[in-house]
Symmetry: C2
Subunit: 362 residues, 2 copies
Amino acid sequence: MKGGGYYSRVNRGTKQVISDALDLVETAIEGMLIEDSDRVFAIADYGAADGGTSYELVRNIIGMVRARAPKRPIVVNYNDLPKNDFSALFEMIHGEDEILGVKSYLKDYDNVFILASGTSFYRQAFPDNSIDLGFSSTALHWLSEKPGIISDHIHAVGAKGSELKAFAVQAKKDWQTILLHRAKELVPGGKLVFINFCIDEQGRYLGNTAGVNMLDTYNAIWLELVAEGTVTNEEYTNVVFPQFYRTGEEFAAPFSDPNGEVCKAGLNLDQIESRVVECPHAATYRETKDLDSFVRAYVSMLRSWSESTFYNGLDPSRPPDERNRIVDLFYGKYEERVRRTPEEHAMDHVHYYMMISKANVP
Amino acid sequence: MKGGGYYSRVNRGTKQVISDALDLVETAIEGMLIEDSDRVFAIADYGAADGGTSYELVRNIIGMVRARAPKRPIVVNYNDLPKNDFSALFEMIHGEDEILGVKSYLKDYDNVFILASGTSFYRQAFPDNSIDLGFSSTALHWLSEKPGIISDHIHAVGAKGSELKAFAVQAKKDWQTILLHRAKELVPGGKLVFINFCIDEQGRYLGNTAGVNMLDTYNAIWLELVAEGTVTNEEYTNVVFPQFYRTGEEFAAPFSDPNGEVCKAGLNLDQIESRVVECPHAATYRETKDLDSFVRAYVSMLRSWSESTFYNGLDPSRPPDERNRIVDLFYGKYEERVRRTPEEHAMDHVHYYMMISKANVP
């Protein structure tokens, strides 16, 4: 993934998804006893990337906590994988430049401290009972490992039979692992607000709400390159996003078994609902009818989060130039398709928004 | 500064300096009441770079704390400037590779958590009363700003008169700022172990213990490039390390004024002594007499921490290639000098090692 704020600049949609979570965060904080303490109020953003998409939400959280508990120091912990560009994150928040048109929240609030955690969210990242409010958006669909191959698609949404089953089993196990680590990290009475890619009640998912199915398009173009002899069969099979879009039932399951580990750890699912955030690029196009801009902006955005998966699927014996050329060809073909039927293309976001609490008396 | 562990691989001397601080750290921990608590024991490494040089010391600290307080979670906070390569640090500590021949301390100790702080040590980086043991090695000689020019040298050790005075005044102010922020961060009874570049009681300092004076050599070669017409007068003046090597008196001064802010903040200087750590490259050369290896390894090490200062002093209108060529020429001339009188060259480290406590009752 490119550094230097690239991710949050290109991904306006992801930012909108997080803005849409403000009501949940308000409800979460309203439900917490935060006045009767002078200890640190600790926020964790799990899978924060460069911190740009959650930036305004974090500012809002700081404001809400400070209004009710003016003396409490606030620590914002940005969590992501070790290789994440934490320098870009620190430079943005500590820097003098405006962030998305506003100055850093560190200029407006004192007694706020920024830390980075480079621990996978599949491990415990913070001490027991140390996080007051955990947040995660568009991150927990990444599985801890790829549980197998998918013969005829590049994503689990296109998997069938035993191949689908292997992904579902891994996703179930991973969801439990994520929840149990967070249960330890949360203070009693602490809360989690999670926004997760999903398959919703109507079978919709990312880039599959109406018109062209984005992930099917990826697959079709990748197969085209195989048919043309550009990509080998082995390279075709190499490309599988290690992701799973869970259903509402899959998200809720661990909370409904009172003898299960998640309930015994004190976690309760307070709220869950699906929400669709419209693709901002497609919305702009409907207004402006500027086809060139749409094609360019839309495919750049797709490319920002998918490019490395296709690149890494290509045989390492190919020189980097050649791998780049094939990836260029791939997104060029995607651009052609968008140009032919622009109104059919949109990467609408489909997420379950959920609020989870840890019992006050564990 | 190059990332990916380059700094700690090249700087064996700096690592030896930190190993030499083990007795101070032992004394510091012995003097702390750590058993009677189940709260987090928090360590901060101020100016940690890639975490490689302090790695073994941190492992030792974890071992000592865990032995006396087995239940306490331990958090290691690595602090440095936002641009520091925190990914290299996280990848090293969370990775599967051995670090300097041993596996990560995270494999040996559970309930240990790693965080990064990208806040300048000239600001408060952690909440009040949250750090148990603060550590810093070979970092606090960096001033918060360059307080002026030095007409005829590249470092304050060669400054005179009002130019020297400006640096000394800045260094005094900066030392107080550093101490007051740390006083807030430390828990009552918490301790700091600081190892700082200095001018010792005998007037010795880094690379100036006997034989050739390293910083004078930098200056002489930089002047040679001016005389040859390669470097302009303006570029000569541009290059000033924004550093100051304080004397023992300068380090001790804020602690000896009972009405001063540092004393009022509860800080006490428990121990201060100068120590010289011999240049490992020069020591190896005395044994092996392998001149080529010495010249290469020694000047690489000098280059690792000084290169960016000379490069950035060159006029930005010069193309990068040209700036690189001039910097290559500079270190080439240094290599020639080492080759001519190898036994005269050594970058011995000269530090004050100090232990500072915050009063138990603030």
